[in-house]
Amino acid sequence: MIENHMTIMLVVLPMLAAPLIALLPSKNLSWGLAILTATLQLYLAVNVLLDVQGGTAIHYELGGWAPPWGISYRLDSLNGLMALLVCLINFVCLLYAKASIEAEIPGRKLGLFYATWQLVVTGLLGIVLTGDIFNLFVFLEISSLSTYALIGMGRQRQALMAAFQYLLSGTLGASFFLIGVGLCYAATGTLNMQDLASQIGQSDQPMTLYSGFAFLFTGLLLKAAIYPLHAWLPNVYQFSPQAVSALLSATSTKVALYVVVRCLLDVFGVEFSLSRLFADLLLLAGSLAILFGSLRAIQQTDLKRLLAYSSIAQLGYSVVGLGLLTVTGLSGALVHLFNHGITKAALFMGAGMLALGPGTTLLTRLAGGTHRPWLLLLFLTGGLSLIGFPGTVGFISKWMLALAAIEQGHWWLLVVILLGSLLAILYVWKFIETLYFVPQNPPETSTGPVPGRGMWLACGLLCLAIVYFGLDTRFTLGVAMDAARQLLGVHP
């Protein structure tokens, strides 16, 4: 029985777990249920992804109502990969969260923390799996609202301000998205994505559709923190609780970018949405993001803020890949979402472990962190992956993007990509140097809580994943290529 319902169970499991966790009396039980749910989800995600390999899609009709009237879920290679990313990161971050979050949040709030966390995951997976654009908006709100709550639980007082700032930007983005959906509905009379796709070419109200398109994408680009709509992101990543930074950096912007890809290429279609002008705009925005993000990252004095600016730069790579509109470029962009997700989560986890004692991630306070030499391995693996060093996942995606740029003859783009990597060397070296080669001043005896076993395990798993998927690309790149071919309508 379960085989037919795996898609929906991915969303239902955390939705069922959230209230149960809130009801459970002890923090250990809450965490136990959360990690159990995450394990089941990971298992399901791997299974559904294996099912859709090779270009098939799984359909699921909620309540037995057939689309376009009912809400239907549709799973193909593209969202299969995203679902796997969300489930993997959710699992690893929960492993990490146990010890990390108990040092940051008072015990009586822990149950609610894990419950809210499950709601974030429900929302993210809902966004990824649904085939109905209004349903997507609802899940967008579920994940956003619960994300604001998680951010506000950060240890520093600025966390509240960061959450509020994100609330304003996020609400603005979601409202724009909703207006866009409304206009598209007015022009076509349908909310089902596939039906919408077939109606858009025949609509007699192109102006309504164009305005809908503009609203929809402004909203989505704001949610995805694409330069120049990125202003909310650094504060959010800096002040969130450590485990939440890791979760968000690897999933929330990636999922928003997934929606951009899905709407651009699947719903509106290449002919409608990607006139050369809009594609060139994407290339420009992506390139600016790469340069701006990297330059700003070099100037930062706080480790988590540095990583946040680096995220803005790395998102730029995916936008560039999308703007290239070739199978190579798009598969590079998609695999980069996954690859950068695991890289950045690992780095934020490392930052969180350093911050356990001093309670801050200011680089000057963390200088000379040599009493945790194993962490160097983590920062090196993650850092090399940000740079794009062969043998790490970062190399794979940048290689694909560089190839795509050469294929298209965009030599300036190749320069931008390489320049981005050079700048990445600078900011990666900046934090590694400060952490490991600057003498400790004054010598601080390491006090405070020590990282728990779960934290080490989570970091180790992600480091292994960074190296493994950097060497064996059959799975990730294969799925991304499948997805890119389907999206662009190219047959192998």
Partner: protein
């Protein structure tokens, strides 16, 4: 005459009617405009009126914060539980037709239970939010 006497008498008079209206909206949701969300908001409006007239202490003696927290989770559980029950009975998620032997009766039962879940969650969550803010203003 105490200045709040009118308020108290009126509140006492109105609250039962507000609650009855809430139940009307709740149970007529599947035939006419209304449903769990609207009913929940009306119920919490009654709770707010009670707090304004009689104070937070008395209200919390009736419904403690902890109970509200449990209720808000129970509502979602009821909602998701109905969905999962449909799965277990061999239908798709939220396919109420399989709940009973008769399709139409199954749809009715499903919708009523779902709306009940929504109603419980909305009523308790809104009341919880109001109580929490009321606590804050008292402490500061």
């Amino acid at each position: 005459m105490r200045p709040d006497l009118l308020l108290k008498v009126l509140a006492k008079f109105l609250i039962p009617f507000i609650l009855i209206f809430a139940f009307y909206v709740q149970f007529h949701g599947d035939f006419s405009p209304g449903g769990g969300f609207q009913a929940g908001v009306i119920i919490s409006a009654a709770a707010v009126l009670y707090v304004l007239a009689f104070g937070l202490e008395l209200a919390e003696r009736g419904i403690p914060l902890r109970a509200l927290q449990y209720l808000s989770s129970t509502g979602i559980l009821l909602y998701t539980g109905v969905g999962v029950a449909c799965l277990l009975k061999g239908g798709n998620f939220l396919d109420y037709s399989v709940l009973l032997d008769n399709d139409v009766a199954g749809q009715h039962l499903g919708i009523i239970l779902i709306e009940l879940g929504v109603g419980i969650t909305v009523a308790s969550t809104l009341t919880l939010i109001f109580f929490t803010f009321a606590h804050w203003s008292r402490h500061s």
